[in-house]
């Protein structure tokens, strides 16, 4: 903010002056000012709920600000809709991709272009190929999007902006879904773009990435600009402090444990997927010991969902002895029976899987705690309510009360509640996906503590996550999934982020084995 006065001779590409946006019950943006030069890579940092998304949606014309000015290339403007934004040359790559899976790459891109733009391009497929080569994106215009990997889809989104000769590119947490190798590919594309004069606004909360690629960073907290700095002059620690305030001290690491006896096992499990865009599981072998956390890394869509479904019993195909728990086969048991046997389960999808949206927190508690709170076939509402209240206060779940509907909670708060509910069962085996995804730092800390406590009491915990940093922090042993294969399992101390990254990209997959599986799949 200070250096806007020192008036460079080039004028900023985009200037925001005192942008405010009020939502019912929360001031999402509070007098935010920001300026972006041509060719600048600018990070927008902040915790969940700090107002980053609202701010970029304002720039992209999805949200209208209550007050404040937007100045684009020196002229004050009003961006009423995403199409106005795109006409100006503002492109955005969304966190949850806005692609149409049943259309091809080139059809997806065509939909974003106005008729004159399309006419000036001529042969769109040819243009895509040419840009693809120029920036090393490696995209085939005629492929259907549902057949693309997550990394490829992101490149399609970037391509969509490139085709429109973008002047400002906004990326909303672009790296959260990529392998470390894909991240470096993305960064080189961004650097090329910046060199050509394109401004880039980069939302992230991964500090090391920000220090690596961004020249400037604006830090938001509670809807306000806390600071604008050059990441190069700061340490990760000092930036983290600005993001979260002084409340939470980030813990450097937790102690690692060796597990004891094998509590849960998967033996040579191969299973074809039942979803058109799914991944088949191939020869999965895994031993989960009592008193350990086993972390499974992997980019979304590499078989995690299928693995979760078969372990929990949601996928009800009998796999009998391929799954054993406490030395007994459980592969033919129903979900409820598995739970009674001591398994607890936190699915990735919170609303709809982890909790019923239209039911109160009390009722949602009952769903997995039916044992303790039912007497003579009647629900013990008093005890149940007290227990739900207890969970709400123990995990500091922000809500109106135990009667609140699950859907009225924010994602992070609901996650805290679900984690609490499952941990509260004192399970022998806990299967858990993305435990702190979308949860703020303070609450994540509480969830981490609860998981570690559960481990120390002797539970076996299987942790499936896309967040490598978290896995390194929590897991005692680690593996990665890629294309339905599970990598070897190693102790966390004996590996590093590079190796796990390689595994996430599938370097451990034996080619001959892979070919044999492909053959089997096509003949089956």
């Amino acid at each position: 903010m200070n250096n806007t006065k020192t008036a460079q001779h080039i004028s900023p590409r985009l200037e925001l002056i005192n942008i405010s946006k009020q939502y019912p019950g929360c001031l999402a943006n509070d007098n935010i000012s920001l300026s972006l030069m041509p060719g600048e890579i600018h990070a927008l940092l902040g915790e969940n709920g700090a107002g980053k998304s609202t701010l970029v949606k304002t720039i992209y014309g999805v949200v209208a600000p209550d007050t404040g000015q937007l100045i684009w290339d020196g002229k004050e403007i009003e961006i009423k809709s995403p199409s106005t934004a795109r006409e100006l040359g503002i492109g955005m790559v969304f966190q949850h991709f806005s692609l149409f899976e049943t259309l091809t790459v080139s059809q997806n891109i065509e939909l974003c272009l106005s008729k004159p733009q399309l006419a000036s391009i001529g042969n769109l497929a040819e243009k895509i190929r040419q840009l693809s080569q120029e920036y090393g994106l490696n995209i085939d215009p005629h492929r259907y999007v549902h057949s693309l990997s997550i990394g490829e889809r992101q490149r399609v989104e970037i391509m969509r902006c490139l085709v429109q000769s973008v002047k400002l590119l906004i990326l909303d947490e672009p790296t959260s879904v990529l392998t470390p190798q894909e991240v470096s590919g993305l960064f080189s594309v961004l650097r090329t773009l910046a060199k050509e004069g394109c401004s880039i606004l980069f939302i992230s909360h991964k500090l090391h990435e920000v220090t690596e690629i961004c020249e400037k960073a604006t830090i938001l907290r509670g809807g306000k600009v806390i600071n604008t700095c050059s990441p190069a002059d700061e340490t990760s620690h000092s930036i983290a402090k600005m993001m979260v305030g002084d409340l939470a001290e980030q813990d450097a690491g937790y102690s690692k444990k060796e597990g004891t006896e094998v509590r849960f096992q998967i033996h040579d499990l191969s299973l074809s997927t039942q979803h058109p865009f799914g991944t088949s599981l191939k020869h999965i072998n895994l031993e989960l010991k009592a008193g350990e956390i086993l972390g499974i890394a992997g980019v979304a869509g590499n078989g995690q969902d299928e693995l979760m479904a078969i372990i929990s019993g949601e996928d009800s195909r009998p796999v009998n002895a391929h799954l054993t728990m406490k030395n007994q086969p459980i592969g033919n048991l129903k979900t409820a029976t598995r739970r009674q046997f001591g398994m607890a389960y936190v699915p990735e999808e919170r609303l709809g899987r982890g909790a019923v949206p239209d039911m109160s927190l009390t009722e949602n508690t009952l769903l997995t705690h039916s044992q303790g709170f039912i007497k003579y076939g009647l629900v013990q509402w008093k005890q149940l309510k007290d227990y739900a209240k207890q969970l709400i206060s123990d995990y500091s779940v922000k809500c109106h009360g135990e009667f609140s509907e699950a859907k009225s909670l924010s994602g992070g708060n609901l996650q805290k509640f679900i984690m609490g509910r499952e941990i509260g069962q004192r399970p022998d085996v806990l299967i858990c996906a993305h435990p702190t995804w979308g949860v703020d730092v303070g609450a994540a800390l509480a969830i981490h503590q609860a998981l570690l406590e559960l481990r120390d009491q002797g539970a076996a915990i299987l942790l499936i996550s896309e967040d490598i940093d978290e896995l390194f922090l929590l897991a005692d042993r680690m593996a990665a999934v890629c294309d339905g294969y599970l990598s070897p399992i190693v102790r966390t101390q004996d590996t590093n982020i590079d190796q796990i990254g390689q595994w996430m990209a599938g370097t451990f997959i034996n080619n001959q084995q892979h070919d044999a599986d492909m053959l089997q799949e096509t003949t089956a």
């Binding site: 999805v62 995403p82 806005s98 149409f100 899976e101 049943t102 259309l103 939909l111 974003c112 549902h146």
Partner: protein
């Protein structure tokens, strides 16, 4: 059984299938945009009664058809406002529309029951209609049947070859993404719903002006429902909808065919054929989970509110 008899049966199958074809063509556009309108039966009855009234009082058949189209649009607009703007449940609203239309059409048409008019005359197309057998089957129909041929080709072209078709598919698959790239989702859905209403209005007019040129309470006899089944039966493909409409048409005149063989089967049993066929097809589609998910519009029946974007 000779070839003339078969030609006669196929000719009748097309005639019987035409109202189904109109409704299903409209509904497939509506469903491709992600909206399920179960109000077809009610809209069709309103189209039939208004079409009949307009044609009866003016003596102008074309005016009757236009009035029926307009009525269909109005009915579908009511539906559109309720589900798109007020966020009402699509299934419940559609059912309500059917009940509403059934009652209102009976009320409006009560003075006209039993009156008859001179319906559309068949217009044989020169040259084409003299092709042996084929000419008899395809080219000796009335104007509305020819219109249904044209609409089929037109809709096939628009959905498969144009940007409009691409936009429609995008809105039905992922309205949030469509909104994010600047497509006006609600506008597309309104237009798709109203197109569906207009087509259903024509289907109603076809019943009361051509098929049986008169008005009787509940004269559509469940055709709106059969057409809804037809869209699923055809797995949202326009070409298959045409084929399916004539198959269903054939099924509903089957008792006549069988009488030709000297068999008698209860017409009530035969009336089940389209539904049985639809259930059968749905079972086949659902057996292949891969296909099922690629065929149906992904956001069918799910409301979209641009003010509450995630």
């Amino acid at each position: 059984m000779d070839a003339d008899f078969i030609a006669q049966i196929l000719f009748s199958a097309i005639k019987t299938g035409t109202p189904l074809l109109f409704i299903a063509l409209g509904e497939v556009i509506c469903e491709k945009s992600g909206v399920l309108n179960l109000g077809q039966e009610g809209m069709m009855l309103m189209g039939a009664v208004v079409g009949f009234l307009a044609a009866y009082s003016t003596g102008n058949m074309a005016f009757g058809v236009l009035a029926a189209m307009a009525m269909g649009c109005v009915m579908s607009l009511i539906f559109g406002v309720l589900v798109l703007h007020l966020g009402a449940n699509q299934v419940a609203t559609g059912l309500a529309l059917t009940i509403f239309g059934t009652g209102l059409s009976a009320f409006v048409g009560s003075d006209f029951v039993g009156k008859t008019i001179q319906g559309f005359n068949p217009i044989p197309i020169p040259y084409l209609s003299s092709i042996p057998y084929l000419g008899k089957i395809l080219f000796e129909h009335d104007l509305l049947v020819y219109l249904s041929f044209i609409m089929t080709v037109l809709i096939m072209y628009v959905t498969n070859k144009t940007r409009l078709g691409l936009t429609l598919k995008a809105v039905g698959e992922n309205p949030n993404a469509a909104n994010a790239i600047g497509i006006k989702v609600l506008r597309v859905r309104y237009l798709a719903i109203m197109f569906g209403g207009a087509m259903t209005g024509i289907a109603g007019a076809y019943m009361s002006l051509v098929y049986t040129p008169m008005w009787a309470e509940n004269m559509t006899a469940g055709r709106g429902w059969i057409a809804l089944a037809l869209v699923v039966f055809a797995s949202w493909r326009v070409g298959r909808i045409m084929l399916g409409a004539y198959l269903f048409g054939l099924a509903s005149i089957m008792h006549l065919v069988l009488q030709g063989f000297g068999w008698t089967i209860s017409t009530n049993l035969l009336a089940m054929l389209p539904y049985v066929a639809t259930v059968f097809v749905m079972v086949i589609i659902s057996a292949d989970k891969f296909k099922e998910k690629l065929l149906a519009p992904r956001s069918l029946g799910k409301p979209f509110d641009p003010r509450h974007m995630a």
